[in-house]
């Protein structure tokens, strides 16, 4: 783990280019570990006739066989004993099935270092207490989805005066409670401490739109933030134009665009991506992005849309070194005025999002995911 540790100790988190060699070495080290400790991963690499030691240089990373998130939904892969996996997270199951990934102490420690650095860079850490409004699930013993844990985790960036959840656990499962959220917002406006919202962009958007239609306006205390995470999920079809979204935040909550921050990550790639003030997801040193062509999975040049392949050496407990997501994205290398040197990632949607409505298909029930 020496290369991985060095990678996660980097102070300059958005200068990916400067750490390319280190990153490649860390991936080799990580892939080798999984190859030796996860028989299924070994079987897959052997099937491609690929050995981790073939990763000599950064350019070789694209040759490392990737695993689709779909594979993790059907197979529980682990490289450390179950007893060593102290947290088990599942994906949110947008398409019906969920990935189960265990986190061991070493992986979590690396994750903690990453969160500290990312939080510092984006000024998320604050000693001033804040009121949290979480547009997501209330975490419970049963709810293992990463998004609810992450949302809860985010409430430690600044001391919490209060936490209000939009989706509250009730006897009959989760229930959406707009009224309670609106009451909480009213309280936040009167508070002398800032407010932070956390949660799914779609819910945040729908709530704000609802408030706007009702003619409700707030002027939240200085330092208040809107933080978004979890992607647009089933709502891609209604995905709001981002600029419309920021105007809505300003109009309804009185919060400036520069205080709206979006996060991106996945159970199968647990790296914290946070957007800069120009709303670009710069690639942190802990991660690399390869955009691949659906024709033959060859890497596409920067600026072209393709399937998003994410790499990180962070995880010891499961072979997540190279994961193919269900997202379509573009990698941009244009200089960003925010000053971050890393290229930035734009997510443009999910694969196959155009609904298949067909009498032959009998809807998705027949599309085995």
């Amino acid at each position: 783990m020496k290369y991985t540790n060095r990678l996660f100790n980097q102070k300059e988190i958005y200068d990916a280019g400067a750490t390319n060699r280190l990153f490649a070495a860390a991936i080799r080290e990580n892939a080798q570990f999984h190859y030796e400790n996860c028989p299924e991963y070994k079987r897959i690499l052997d099937g491609f006739g690929f050995r981790p030691e073939e990763l000599h240089a950064y350019a070789d990373l694209a040759r490392l066989p990737f695993l689709p998130t779909l594979y993790f939904k059907r197979h529980h892969l682990q490289s450390v004993a179950p007893g060593k996996q102290i947290i088990k997270a599942t994906s949110s199951g947008t398409s019906g099935s969920m990935s189960k990934i265990g986190f061991d102490v070493k992986s979590l420690n690396l994750g903690r270092k990453m969160v500290v650095q990312v939080g510092r860079y984006h000024r998320l850490w604050s000693a001033t207490p804040v009121n949290y409004i979480i547009f997501g699930y209330q975490p419970t013993r049963e709810n293992k989805t990463a998004i609810s844990k992450t949302a809860f985790g985010f409430t430690f960036f600044a001391p919490a005066l209060s936490r209000t959840y939009a989706l509250e656990s009730t006897e009959n499962g989760y229930a959406l409670s707009w009224d309670r959220v609106i009451k909480a917002l009213e309280k936040c406006e009167k508070s002398r401490f800032p407010m932070r919202t956390i949660g799914f962009p779609a819910y945040t958007f729908f709530l704000l739109r609802d408030l706007k239609e009702k003619g409700i306006r707030f002027q939240m205390p200085k330092g208040s933030m809107v933080t978004l995470g979890g992607g647009w999920k089933q709502f891609y079809a209604e995905k709001a134009d981002k600029q419309t979204f920021y105007s809505l935040v300003k109009e309804v909550l009185g919060i400036e665009e520069s205080n709206v921050i979006e996060f991106f990550g996945a159970v199968e790639h647990p790296i914290l991506y946070a957007d800069c003030r120009y709303h670009h997801f710069h690639i942190p040193v802990y991660s690399r992005v390869i955009i691949r062509s659906p024709d033959d999975f060859s890497p596409l040049p920067n600026g072209q849309a393709g399937i998003l392949n994410l790499l990180t050496p962070m995880m010891q407990s499961a072979p997540l070194c190279s994961v193919m997501t269900d997202d379509l994205g573009v990698l941009h290398t244009e200089q960003c005025p925010c000053g971050a040197k890393s290229p930035w990632l734009e997510i443009i949607g999910r694969v196959g999002i155009r609904d298949i409505v067909t009498c032959a298909a009998g809807a998705e029930e027949y599309l085995k995911e």
Binding site: L70, Y71, T358, A360, Y366
Partner: protein, 424 residues
């Protein structure tokens, strides 16, 4: 957007109108003489002529582009609604002649009454088509639009009523999401028959919705396939590939995969490779597949490769694939130009019978007409309802049956009167 008594109204009036239908929906069929097919044919013919003249080009063109429907295909579809074709359809399906049986009983066809059409969204004008079939058989029609409906069906029905105002009490269109089960239940209670288009889930939902005394007519999920002898010619395979690329395997009649009459894995592999080369080349001259769909299939196929035992073989190139499978099941493909190839010796064709009402079209690929006849006869006996040659799986012909039956007859009932009786 809803349609009621020939007027397009805002959704906000939907509940109020639905409530009022409880006592009024069935009135036209109860009080009046049955709506004659002639009234409907006249209106449809006038509308079809206007469409063919280009009066609706600005409305229609975007949908054709969206669904990759060529001008020629579209004209063929519109021609189905001309007088000549509708009269032919009615002559086959309605059997409207009043026949006297044994000198004692006179027989006459009547509409079922009120039909609720639960439409699917895979073909854009399909909801309107379903309503027109309901009208031809004389019924009052309540249409529940599919999610994400483009508005084309409402527009067509609106124009139809403008041409023939007599139809205005026979057509209602509502925009009720499938999740609003209470409203759907209220609509279903008004009906004598529910006409449901869609997958198994939609059909099951419609059956749950229907009262015991409500007829459910389902145009549901269908699976179609090709059955090939090893002597199938490249030309036949090419026509099959064209139909696969032309429909993207989305229609009930689209080929999902090919059963090959062999027990040999080697022959199966050779056949699969041969078809793959043909499919690849046809794909290059067809309009490109939606990028996101191609990406989704690429991931699924890659995943299948990771999961596969060594027996599986996947041939993949730029979104097109042929997958060699070891089982003998009829199943949905990944769609969008991705085909499975399985071994199924002719004497095991009967195993497909278990798919019952899911079976629809089969094309037979062989150079030998004797073999073709034999296979066709087996396919017909096990439940396939359309047996075609390679390029014709998804053809539309006026007067053809629909999923093994005639829609207009399904929407009708036969009333028998004793000859002495003067009742109608």
């Amino acid at each position: 957007m809803i349609l009621c008594h020939g007027e397009i109204l805002p959704n906000s009036r939907q509940q109020e109108i639905i409530a009022s239908l409880k006592d009024t929906a069935a009135l036209p069929v109860v009080r009046n003489e049955p709506l004659t097919p002639e009234t409907v044919i006249r209106a449809c013919d006038a509308l079809a002529q206007r469409i063919l003249n280009g009066d609706f080009d600005t409305t229609v063109k975007p949908f054709l582009d969206l669904f990759h429907i060529s001008g020629g295909q579209f004209e063929g579809m519109v021609r189905l609604f001309t007088r000549e074709n509708l009269e032919y359809k009615c002559s086959i399906e309605l059997c409207d002649d009043e026949r006297v049986i044994g000198g004692k009983v006179r027989r006459k066809r009547y509409p079922l009454g009120v039909l609720l059409h639960i439409a699917a969204g895979n073909v854009d004008a399909l909801p309107a088509y379903s309503v027109i079939e309901g009208l031809l058989s004389g019924n009052v029609n309540i249409l529940k639009l599919p999610v994400g409906d483009s508005g084309l069906s409402v527009k067509l029905l609106y124009e139809l009523i403008a041409i023939e105002p007599l139809l205005s009490d026979y057509v209602y269109v509502f925009d009720v999401p499938s999740t609003e089960t209470e409203t759907l239940k209220r609509l279903s209670d008004l009906c004598d028959g529910i006409v449901v288009w869609g997958g198994d889930a939609a059909v099951k939902a419609a059956r749950r919705l229907a009262n015991v005394n409500t007829k459910v007519i389902s145009w549901g999920h269908k699976l179609s396939f090709a059955y090939a002898e090893l002597d199938a010619s490249d030309e036949e395979l090419q026509r099959l590939a064209q139909s696969i690329c032309g429909t993207n395997q989305l229609l009930c009649s689209s080929c999902q995969g090919i059963f090959v009459n062999t027990n040999s894995r080697e022959e199966q592999t050779d056949f699969a490779k041969r078809f793959f080369e043909i499919l690849k080349s046809v794909n290059q001259s067809a309009p490109p597949v939606d990028y996101g769909m191609k990406a989704k299939n690429a991931i699924h196929l890659y995943n299948e490769r990771l999961e596969a035992s060594s027996e599986n073989n996947i041939y993949y190139h730029q979104g097109v694939s042929v997958v060699i499978r070891e089982d003998k099941e009829l199943e949905l493909s990944y769609l969008y130009r991705n085909v499975w190839v399985k071994r199924l010796p002719a004497d095991e064709l009967y195993t497909l019978k278990k798919h019952k009402n899911h079976l629809q079209t089969a094309c037979i690929l062989t150079a030998d007409s004797e073999k073709r006849k034999k296979i066709a006869s087996v396919l017909a006996r096990i439940g396939v309802v359309r047996i075609t040659s390679a390029g014709n799986m998804s053809r539309t012909i006026c007067g053809e049956a629909h999923d093994g039956t005639y829609a207009l007859r399904e929407y009708s009932r036969i009333v028998e009167f004793e000859v002495e009786s003067s009742a109608q």
